[in-house]
Symmetry: C2
Subunit: 363 residues, 2 copies
């Protein structure tokens, strides 16, 4: 046969957000696996764990005591990656000498927060009620607003990266349902790359890249996983992780701050649906890293124009609850490589139940 088959032949796909490529080797999913096995999720965990530093009323490593919180709880990370009030760093002499070119550095200030999603130690987003997830979205919004206000009062806050690492496979060190928010005086790499790409596309087509992309995906439907009035979830054409998804707002919302009540509720609903599908895929508590990409704090009109709220989900599992994809040698030195197509992943996620969690069918 001489027709190119995207489900069998190797090809590269371009990621227009980051201006990089991914190698797709769809025939490769068949190889045997004798490597590392992930721990499958435990189902029997208590609602309260006296040794957990995130449970209500417990002591944290630094000696602070958690309040008896009833829904969400935000507090400054006891081991923050960035801090406020550090000495200034005198900049190099410019960019003219070879040394200046090769040893560029700048100071980064900021603050890091932990956001507990629920007082119950044994929950995860898909196991929480819709109205409880709405509280999480509200917590993100209130933090975003608070940080903007503090920036107005002089704090060096430029961007806040909200994210969740779920599961030990994604470096999470505490099962208690929680995410983080790192607020920095600089705009991180990935955002800078996206903003640059969005700006270029906007200049060429007088349209936001995600608007244009979503329009095509919603008409072709091959990579759409689920949608509601305000959001669509899809496996991007250029996905790297096996079941990577993109959650995109259907209208132009630069950041969480612009969400109305209906949009807040719709985001919570689609997150519950997506994470339920993920858990149902391999009947396990599905690990992932996920987070928001949105406008910088106190964005200018120009920054708002090129910002479009979306979330990325990067889940590592490939073939089962215990076999993950490793992005290692070739991926780190050459380029990311995946073993099934975005369309194959989307179809599996689309057909999965997003309402009933697999654990409800176990006795």
């Amino acid at each position: 046969d001489s027709t190119f088959d995207f489900t069998d032949n190797s090809h590269r796909r371009y990621n227009p957000l980051t201006d990089t490529w991914v190698l797709v080797s769809p025939h490769r999913a068949k190889r045997p696996w004798l490597g590392q096995q992930e721990a499958p999720s435990k189902l029997e965990i208590a609602e309260y764990d006296e040794s957990c530093y995130l449970c209500p009323r417990n002591l944290r490593a630094t000696g602070s005591k958690n309040p008896n919180y009833g829904s969400t709880f935000i507090f400054p990370n006891d081991y923050a990656a960035v801090k406020l009030n550090q000495p200034g760093l005198s900049q190099g002499r410019g960019n003219d000498s070879e040394r200046d070119q090769l040893f560029k550095t700048s100071s980064v200030e900021g603050n890091c927060y932990v956001i507990c999603f629920s007082p119950k130690h044994n929950l995860t987003l898909p196991l929480m009620m819709h109205k409880e997830i709405v509280r999480v979205v509200e917590a993100w919004i209130s933090l975003y607003r608070q940080l903007e206000e503090e920036a107005n009062q002089g704090k060096p806050f430029k961007y806040v990266q909200i994210f969740e690492n779920k599961g030990t496979a994604m470096g999470c060190s505490n099962l208690h349902p929680h995410g983080q928010a790192w607020c920095l005086s600089t705009v991180p790499n990935e955002l800078m790359k996206e903003f640059t790409s969005f700006k270029k596309f906007q200049d060429s087509f007088s349209k936001h890249m995600l608007d244009s992309y979503m329009e095509i995906e919603l008409s072709e439907r091959e990579r759409v996983v689920v949608e509601n009035d305000s959001f669509v979830v899809l496996v991007p054409f250029w996905a790297i992780w096996p079941f990577e998804t993109l959650v995109v707002s259907k209208t132009h919302l630069p950041s969480l701050k612009e969400f109305n009540a209906k949009q807040q509720s719709d985001l919570a609903a689609i997150l519950k649906n997506l994470t339920t599908k993920y858990d149902n895929l391999f009947s396990t508590s599905f690990p992932y890293s996920m987070g928001t990409h949105q406008a910088p704090l106190n964005a200018s009109e120009e920054e708002k124009k090129i910002s479009w709220f979306h979330m990325h989900f990067y889940p590592p599992l490939l073939r089962s609850a215990t076999v993950r994809k490793f992005l290692v040698g070739f991926e780190l030195l050459g380029e990311p490589q995946r073993d099934l197509t975005a369309e194959q992943a989307a179809e599996r996620l689309r057909t999965l139940d997003g309402i009933t969690h697999y654990s409800e069918n176990l006795d």
Copy 2:
């Protein structure tokens, strides 16, 4: 105190090879770890394993039988990520419409190889003799030459990525000492980024970036780990992984093909020294992904000018044989973050024994 302290204050460093930044949070290494534990290495493994598909004389999954090889052994990967002879992919209509911009794709052909380093199942580079590692370097060179010849005869080979994933933490599925070589019809992302940066630097300073960088590092010595006549190992200023290193040739060698006998021997010697230090760091068989960056196959004079042979080592361990660094939520969504400085890592590696392996001191 109002002086900026690079060993305590958060800062960003620029990676001039890939035009990206890394966030350095040196104070963060102190946080407790309750997350995933890696398996420490086993010391009691037999020289021959009858269930290993890489050991001499054994059968592979596809039914081929390995020869009774005595030093190295190269064969085509039974589960190759790219293949020869697939149907052509008609290109999109150009780059003018929104759809063309968002759904760029191209066919990738090529071939993948496995390179067994030794017939002995229980060896690793640091446990092999210098002269045995010279055989590995020779195997890489002979493969590079063979691929160039095949390309001359019409095979679509443009670049060969030689690498090793060592240890289950880096996705390795077989302990038997081996690496891989993926030969593609395209030049992967990471190489393209480096070539672009090298070209720009060369145009500005009439000098190769790595030449200039090495010169500065060799005079300042803060980040140098070890050197010999032909190579230097250093922790790059912009390192991401905790104990990441760069092995750079001291003179302009575009690829392995240009190595003379002394340089081949010196590369083997410095690889033995570096991997011995790595194993001695946490008294374990130290996992990593490593590989070569060099000139494309049958490089033009211009390509040779901007290519400079070097190797990257990306090892995940952070604090002990069982606690690794996870590059997850913030890293994937924002930018890479590290918990100790490049200088701290270099000092630890520099002072470690690179001659005697820790296992020789155990009974």
